[in-house]
């Protein structure tokens, strides 16, 4: 067992997710020395303190740091709980592992989080490569989803999984559960779905999703940055959301109330420069108000099917056809004059060129030339010297 891995396992218990000073300490000294300092086995000199202050300032988190002494005081109460070897053994027993940024299996896209990149990931599921950013889509939304949200989520997740995308979500009730379930059903990729948990992966939370999350483990992956035994607190939910956003190329909010954790995930995605999609719904549904808010505020793209989401994930995608392009109407591409002439042509009886001139307000030459063009297009037909519309066009 290498020391780097053990140190990161310990640090992930000592520090809450996104503990800015702690992450700066790790960056400055490496994980092993950071652990020694955080646990009081080594001292942090003034030079290190200055370096951390500089790192925090560079990352916009500098002004609130009360100094190393305050951070040590914050970490101290948890030192007695440290047992990284035990945590790693627990993961092995559950068929899982710990991955750290130096591992080949580490998802490279988490690097976009910069200093907010997690210290490590506790991973339950088969050991296999996680999908690259362009192949994963986050589907998130309310726990109290409506039947509309359930049906749309199911359609989207199934269809995305069929296209080889990995569906990332949070393992919660409602939209999350529908997303995981449909991705498992439709999955064609090696990892059809990933659940990123706010608490430890030793426990499937919420318990009502235990069977589902077990299936996600068996076919996909269940991840967390907090160690086994950690409770899913509200703070950790909010931090967890940044991992969902960072793992995926696109974050799509399917249903969300005006205030919803799903909007928090969308904002993380925006901050990371990732695309955000929102599914529209009834203006009468409170569960779509958050989606409409995202659309209105301009940060989100309106998405209505899996093809539109796939396009957001790989904007340069070849072979993606916009829906509706096949519906070209008969009169598309006609000149204004020909359109006027087409309007003037009767549907049932036939009419003369002279009459068409008066009705359409066109000269006889124009009418004759236009009838020729419309005839070629199959829109006008001549019958016994008169003209009529060849078929009904909308």
């Amino acid at each position: 067992m290498d020391n780097e891995r053990i140190a990161r396992a310990a640090l992930s218990r000592l520090m809450e997710p996104q503990d800015a000073a702690g992450l700066a300490l790790v960056q400055a000294t490496g994980a092993r020395d950071a652990l020694k300092i955080a646990t009081g086995q080594a001292a942090a000199g003034p030079a290190l303190e200055r370096e951390i202050t500089g790192l925090l300032a560079d990352n916009g988190a500098g002004t609130s740091w009360a100094g190393m002494a305050a951070s040590l005081k914050r970490w101290a109460p948890r030192i007695t709980d440290l047992a990284p070897e035990r945590d790693l053994a627990t993961m092995a027993r559950l068929g899982g592992r710990l991955i750290i940024p130096s591992d080949d299996l580490w998802p490279a896209q988490l690097g976009d989080l910069g200093m907010q990149e997690p210290i490590c990931l506790w991973w339950r599921g088969l050991e296999q490569e996680l999908p690259g950013p362009a192949r994963s889509v986050a589907l998130v939304g309310s726990r109290d989803s409506t039947s509309y949200g359930a049906s749309v989520t199911g359609d989207l997740a199934y269809s995305l999984a069929q296209r080889g995308f990995t569906v990332v979500s949070g393992g919660a009730y409602g939209i999350d559960a529908h997303a995981h379930r449909a991705a498992l059903a439709g999955g064609s990729a090696a990892v059809p779905t990933i659940a990123v948990m706010a608490g430890g992966v030793d426990r499937f939370y919420p318990s009502g999703n235990e069977d589902l999350l077990r299936a996600v483990c068996n076919q996909g992956a269940v991840l967390a940055e907090v160690p086994p035994g950690s409770a899913p607190t509200r703070y950790r939910f909010l931090q967890r959301n940044r991992l969902i956003a960072a793992l995926a190329a696109v974050t799509v909010v399917v249903e969300a109330r005006w205030r919803s954790g799903a909007l928090n995930t969308a904002h993380h995605a925006e901050t990371l420069g990732r695309a955000v999609g929102a599914v529209p719904g009834s203006v009468h549904s409170a569960n779509s108000a958050g989606c409409h808010r995202l659309l209105r505020d301009g940060g989100a793209v309106c998405v209505t099917d899996a093809a539109e989401i796939a396009e957001l994930a790989s904007p340069s995608g070849v072979g993606l056809t916009a829906p509706g392009t096949a519906h070209a109407a008969d009169h598309d591409g006609l000149t204004l004059e020909d359109l006027i002439l087409l309007d003037a042509l009767p549907l049932r009886s036939t009419t003369s060129v002279d009459k068409l001139c008066a009705v359409a307000g066109l000269s006889a030459d124009s009418v004759r030339a236009g009838l020729g063009r419309l005839g070629l297009l199959g829109l006008a037909a001549s019958e016994r010297g008169g003209w009529k519309r060849a078929k009904e066009s909308v």
Copy 2:
């Protein structure tokens, strides 16, 4: 009866709406001389032809003009039908009138159409000032509206009319009819609603909306740029849409299929630099596909109620509160540390400061200070030396 009015009445029968060469001719010579030239009573010299060519080029319509001879040929078949005095008498008999750009009653916002400004407007309804651009909203959409579209249109039009807005629409079945009807019911402005017709205003079209359009006449206005007796051709529908867009500050598409005339109105509004709103709906409804297309293409703002539309109409509007701002959650504005601490506080039993230190990963000083702050906010309560959450907060 002044000659300018009679000339424009005649020209509106001679020329189809937005006849670029015709409008350029009117601009170059004035309406009276334009009528003489168009009817062959006066000749157009090469200088005039050059001027028209220049005007067309300046307005991006130059390359397709085949010259004055071709235009004269186009207008010729309708010369025998000209009877402007009869048309004006018809309007007077129907309680209406013809207005021209020099009239005080001419809606100034039509000037934004530039050379596409109509030659005149045939107006049926009370003689009273039409609303300025900031006080009118166009509500448009499919003829085959769903019950969702009907209900949303009714809510929006009623509420906009109650706020003193004039609702502009096209008098058609479906969304248009719901918009006019609800605006008449909710109307507080002098002109609660305006119907802009594609055909002549002497006939209420479609006939199924006859009673409704008669009510619009009695309380509001029914307008058209084509003279009495003109048929509502497809070409005229498309041109009519530019008038709806130009009359209103905002064009809102409530329900529209992937291809719909309502999208054409929205594009006119965009071209004019007017705001476009689209109402979201179910992704399963083909009648919302056009709205979602507008949202996705980036041209439209997602609108879900009358307040959001009013805001688009007068962006500087004072006293407009965004919905949802009152729903602030208890934990809004807390620091991350206090949020972590709040998470750590038990709901039922009490706990000690030491225990909170370990659970929250905070020093004893931080915990005590945080408990003080949470206590002041009514979020934490002390009981017999222990601490618990004061009330449930989402």
